[in-house]
């Protein structure tokens, strides 16, 4: 294929602005998939995605298109993950393209993440084609969407293409526009090889498969290659393109998009963003922009049945073959036994991981509430990375606590501004700016602690705005905060599993909520059990679990004695499964209810 006839493009769209459906239409119009093989949301790779109707990332596809100018083109669609958790991968996908389709829902307008991703596309020098989708809907207001693209994103949208992916209108126009305005890739086929890994997947039969975009040079099967970031050297087993299945080819030249497999056993051996070069004739320096992804949200995964620990470990190992951004290390919890502390790119990433463990690996697990990593400077000046409340030194030894902050943009109808500002305030948000995108849509920019964001911010935002708000965030670094560790004491004994970190001003309220919840969860004992929340030695809240008043005591003659003993044995077994904190028995379920994330939505 001639380099000048290649067009590489991606789609930037908000979560349900019709990306998958649009991709389906493109595939159909270009006859990339025989119509009998066509199915809805063809490129959604995970069962989970198809089921939820959300798309984290589409699989890449290569389409052949004969344009109106009579020439044949190769169009490579490389998707960008539509969620803020995967921002880094967005930038890598964009780096593999020369053009981007900015898809905006004609009924909703521009959403927060769309703006961030569109700007990244512009920054990376991509040609951005505006597409206003869902014009078939009665509530479509394409002119508003056009205006928002101009006002909010700052792109000229006068030539935006109006489409209805559902009905198939405007699809040819998109293809024509890609051919005419997206530049052909540059690159020298005889230069040293430079190929960007923009994604990688694990295949049960072939091992790791890297999705690559060749920038310079040529990739051939049998070639010895070098991964520039990891230093790994491997011979290539297979080179191919996405049709959309894996289809081997002889070679990939500059501008081409495809995959390689090279006997790589784990995804850890390859990193998205890394540069592949020829081991014998390496490039002078790797392609720019590579960085290691860093987990920002952590939580514990524990098997529901304690003896299922090995299954959980196997499942996590397999999952990580598929998703190298997940970190995990063994951890022991007083309450939950053996499990793993896992790190994720964000909440959706965490959610998807736990859901995939359940579905694909059939593991019943308990996920503890997510938390962030704090940085503590103690009085001696030592910096401690604190993953859990237990890592916090005694209050007197702490000089400073720093926590990760994010800059948050919220797009929302102006009617809800008051409520959302109040919510942001409660979440320790710091106001940065507010501007009107259109007459009735507002953008709020705040800075807030990530820890507050991950607790239940998204849920609350949704309920406050009836789902009409969208948000985007980026990290702005660690900042000093007045954070304290609140301990929970059960009958005077500190219960590690229940302690938590929060801002000093919220300590009383959070402490109150915690002890009240525990009061509900801890069954009556033979004695009264005080439950206290304290900061250091100072108790800030106390409630009591009243002593047990009465059992149901039945008569007990003859055979009743055996029945009674069996009943008591059952109770005893139940009690054995309980966790002792001092003299208090607490059922596992209480720990679960306390530690588990509330509700469905994160």
């Amino acid at each position: 294929m001639k380099q000048e006839n290649i067009r590489n493009f991606c789609i930037v769209a908000h979560i349900d602005h019709g990306k998958s459906t649009l991709a389906d239409r493109l595939i159909e119009v270009t006859h990339t998939v025989a119509s009998r093989d066509m199915r809805h949301q063809f490129l959604d790779s995970l069962a989970l995605e198809r089921e939820r109707g959300i798309t984290i990332k589409l699989v890449p596809v290569r389409m052949d298109y004969r344009a109106r100018d009579g020439r044949d083109y190769v169009l490579n669609l490389i998707d960008t993950p539509g969620h803020v958790d995967f921002g880094y991968e967005v930038s890598r996908s964009l780096a593999a393209c020369e053009g981007a389709l900015l898809v905006v829902d004609a009924t909703q307008g521009v959403e927060a993440q769309t703006v961030a991703n569109a700007w990244q596309a512009v920054e990376q020098g991509l040609e951005v084609i505006s597409v206003i989708n869902k014009i078939d809907l009665p509530s479509a207001r394409p002119e508003n969407a056009r205006k928002e693209i101009a006002d909010v994103v700052g792109l000229d949208a006068s030539d935006a293409i109006l489409t209805s992916a559902k009905e198939g209108t405007g699809i040819e126009e998109i293809l024509e526009r890609i051919v005419s305005s997206v530049p052909a890739p540059e690159g020298d086929p005889s230069a040293p090889l430079e190929a960007l890994i923009f994604d990688s997947v694990y295949d049960n039969y072939r091992g790791v498969i890297c999705y690559v975009r060749v920038m310079n040079g040529t990739l051939r099967s049998g070639q010895n290659i070098l991964f520039m970031a990891t230093g790994g050297r491997y011979p290539i087993d297979e080179v191919g393109v996405f049709r959309p299945g894996f289809t081997p080819v002889e070679q990939l030249g500059p501008g081409e998009v495809g995959y390689i497999s090279a006997s790589l056993k784990t995804l850890a051996e390859t990193h998205v963003g890394d540069t592949i070069t020829d081991a014998g004739r390496p490039a002078a320096k790797p392609l720019p922009g590579y960085r290691k992804v860093k987990s920002v949200v952590f939580c514990g995964f524990y098997p529901v049945e304690r003896d299922a620990y090995p299954q959980l470990r196997d499942a996590l190992e397999k999952l990580c073959l598929n998703d190298s951004a997940i970190l995990f290390e063994p951890e022991t919890s007083v309450a939950l036994g053996f499990g793993f502390r896992c790190g994720f790119l964000g909440l959706l990433h965490m959610d998807v991981a736990s859901e995939r463990l359940r579905r694909e690996f059939d593991v019943e697990l308990v996920a503890t509430a997510p938390n962030v990593v704090y940085e503590i400077v103690d009085t001696k000046g030592t910096v401690i990375e604190a993953h859990r409340p237990g890592d916090f030194p005694e209050a007197g030894e702490i000089a400073e606590v720093r926590e990760p902050f994010i800059k948050l943009s919220v797009f929302l109808p102006s009617d809800y501004v008051g409520r959302v500002m109040q919510l942001l305030q409660e979440k320790r948000g710091v106001y940065k700016s507010m501007d009107y995108l259109t007459q009735d849509r507002v953008r709020l920019v705040y800075e807030m602690p990530l820890a507050e964001f991950i607790i239940d911010f998204h849920d609350k935002l949704k309920s406050q705005t009836r789902g009409y708000a969208s948000l985007d965030y980026e990290f702005v670094g660690l900042r000093a905060s007045d954070l304290v560790r609140v301990d929970v004491l059960v009958n005077g004994e500190a219960a590690d599993a229940f302690s938590f970190i929060c801002h000093r001003d919220a300590a009383y309220n959070r402490g109150h909520t915690a002890v009240t919840k525990l009061k509900e969860l801890i069954p009556s004992q033979l004695f009264e059990v005080p439950i206290q929340a304290s900061i250091g030695k100072r108790v800030i809240v106390r409630v009591n679990v009243k002593a047990l008043r009465k059992d149901v005591l039945a008569k007990c003659y003859g055979g009743d004695i055996t029945r009674k003993r069996k009943l008591l044995e059952k109770q005893k077994e139940g009690k054995k499964r309980m966790k002792q904190i001092g003299r208090v028995s607490i059922p596992q379920e209480a720990f679960l209810a306390f530690l588990q994330i509330d509700g469905e939505e994160k």
Binding site: L526, A547, D551, G559
Partner: protein, 403 residues
Amino acid sequence: MIFSLYLHVPFCVSRCGYCSFYSRATGPDVRRGDALVEAWLAGVGREAERIGRIWEGRPPLRTVYIGGGTPTVLSPAVWARLLRVLEGAFDVSGVREATVEANPCSLTDDHLRLWRDSFVTRVSLGVQSLRDDELSWLGRRHDAREALLAIEKTLAYGFDASADLIFGLPLQTLRTWHDSLHRVVASGVGHVSAYQLTLSPHTPLGKSFEQKNFELPEGYPFYRFAQWYLALRGLAQYEIASFARPGGECLHNLAYWRQENVLALGPSAWGYLGGGWESQERSPDGSSCHKFKYCGGLRYHNVSTLEEYISVSETQLPIAGAERLQGRAAKTEAAILALRTRWGIDAAAFTERWGRECREEILGVLKSVPPRLVRIDESGARLTPAGMRVGNAIWVELMALDD
């Protein structure tokens, strides 16, 4: 060796919705009922004879309890034959207490007269409540007036009388509970058994509660009131569910809690043998050999249905199963059963039977229980009234020793 005997009479006129004991509703068809009763009586005769054969003589009885079911659905004529069977198979000369369970609506003067002339000493009346609305909710066939009349008659014939009462009924209030307690005490009974209504999911009432998602009221106020009120009126609590005037405690039930020998007779009856003996028995044709080895701490039960009982008792003892508590479990059970009663664990007796180490372990656990629930001193350990209210929780602590 001396025994207690429990005889199960598996017949009722109709089944009560809350009862999970085995019994057969005889219903209105008297002839069909009669045939079953005849078969049962024959079975009891055969079983008693077999027990006698094992014992090589007539086992001497100390207490007898004839329960059910509803023993008073048996006609006085059947009763006369039943008593003859028992007197023939067992040595009743040393009987100190023999109780018959009686239903207020089927108890007759003829029954009482017959019992008075036998070894029966005590009648336990299934009163349950003295409120007609509560009685009809329970599906009882008698009303309050009949219940009081039955108590009066029983006492008039010179029997010790006990009344069963149930608390925790959906319609019950503390006032109606007081009313039942008050009138029962006033009627002159020397013994009251007070039970909390528990609904097994296998019973009709249990099923309907489950379906309708009803919940029974909390028993605490009723139970606590009974503990206070009955003691006030001279009926001291001597066991979790039992209250009696001094000397009126049920010896037969004490035998259960003290792990004394109890022989089972009749379908679904339970027995306990603390001693041990061995026996060999031949079938009528002389071919098969049945061997029952009774050793220390054997609790056993008979086949549960009347049909099985009738057929099995043709050829052998109708025992369906037995369990022998061993090691720790036997000791813990002894402690738990002892703690059901007012006398609790007698330190000296307990040590003699189970050893000093075991006693110390048990007392050690009890010492970790708040002192308002258990009194512990030189002589032993016993539950306070507050302790009796939370017995299960205390016993579970003791059972942890079994591991």
